[in-house]
Symmetry: D2
Subunit: 131 residues, 4 copies
């Protein structure tokens, strides 16, 4: 997109803010949204997991300047008759890759659990500034 | 189900609690969950709405003693190129019907926006106590 | 309260629904709300925990027919300089006691983690039907 | 802070990522968290609003590289005896200012409702790169 013609919110940002800053900022917003919107969903069905991955992808793409989203959920679903044996989505179950685009800058960011940190980290995998 | 054999949590409830009380209580939990878990999801795609209805149904059925769930989302999706024109799920967009079963009691409950109250009401449509 | 005069939503409930059913139903809604609204809040400060307990109590009391709420959060807050060492609220950190009142019926319900079940259980501790 | 010594997650980021990128990214995460974590909280008490502002500030400061947070909630609380007359927190009720710090870069970002856009916008008010 051409941010000059089609970003009606651009005037609210500091003039110091570059296209790169915007693409990075939007990536942060997207991953903060994913973690805090979807945690806690009760899960007992494999089919539910597949649909939820798609719903999260669509939710990401619904917000401004998100051009790609890929969500993979890795979760153990209990298999027994105990009615209390289900699980709930936690951030550590998610592996999310997004691409934001602003002007000619693209940012590829990711959310995944890092065992060495014992933390579900949101981080930037790549920044591409086209000519 | 036969709650005597298969409800390991029954001992934590007061002995005053009947099967009917349990079915009603579980209906309340389910509808409280739906409202507060799913509000705020960004939505811009018709396909997302369809998948989200299914995800909410599965989430309801994942929790104990829920035997049926039907979710319908009524929401206006903006149709223009403004990147800030998407919507987010609100409780008033939901029409949810659930059935809980405990012992031989079934409770049919519903969540929907009531214009006269200007309120998204969770209420009980029927209680069926079989012989 | 006198539900005949002051519950504008009563007409939407099945005529089979008793005051007891209503008090039980409202207790379920309250505990479903607590679990799914507050999970995931980032926590690093003791003072935050104290304030959050009060906020959850107020949130419970904001909804209809809730007359008492007591929330206690038990959570380990990491004490080191690693910026990634904070915690997030999980349902198992909560011990919530509520009382709902409808007509002359009161229901005392609780949410707490039960180690034997490895589950954060919502259950009814008492039902009091006054003359 | 000195990010070389005390950011154990730095190695997961692309080497293209500058301190400025990090400070911007963390600002986005914080504001995405606020919107999607706190929406939907039932509110009926003035005191609850004051405590909730503090809880949100603490939640922001709990996450990495957040150095300042100021939250103001503007919300109308219904004043009548109807038990269904309470409100729930929406993103448009929030005015949030945060400062993130990474290395010698600070980013000041804000979340507030912009009437002209009919949108609760997260935006960057300033970027300060010290010598």
């Amino acid at each position: 997109m051409d941010e000059h013609s089609s970003d009606p919110a651009k005037i609210y940002f500091s003039p110091k803010v570059s296209n790169r800053d915007r693409a990075v900022f939007e990536a942060g917003i997207a991953l903060g949204m994913v973690i805090h919107q979807f945690m806690g969903i009760p899960i007992k069905f494999e089919e539910e997991v597949k649909l939820l991955e798609k719903v999260i992808e669509y939710a990401i793409l619904s917000q401004p300047f998100k051009s790609e989203a890929k969500v993979s959920i890795s979760i153990d679903i209990p298999k027994d008759d105990n009615p209390y044996r289900y699980t709930t989505l936690r951030s550590r179950n998610l592996d999310v890759t997004i691409v934001t685009s602003y002007g000619k800058t693209k940012v590829k960011a990711r959310l995944r659990y890092i065992p060495e940190l014992d933390y579900t980290l949101a981080y930037i995998e790549d920044i591409i500034e086209e000519e």
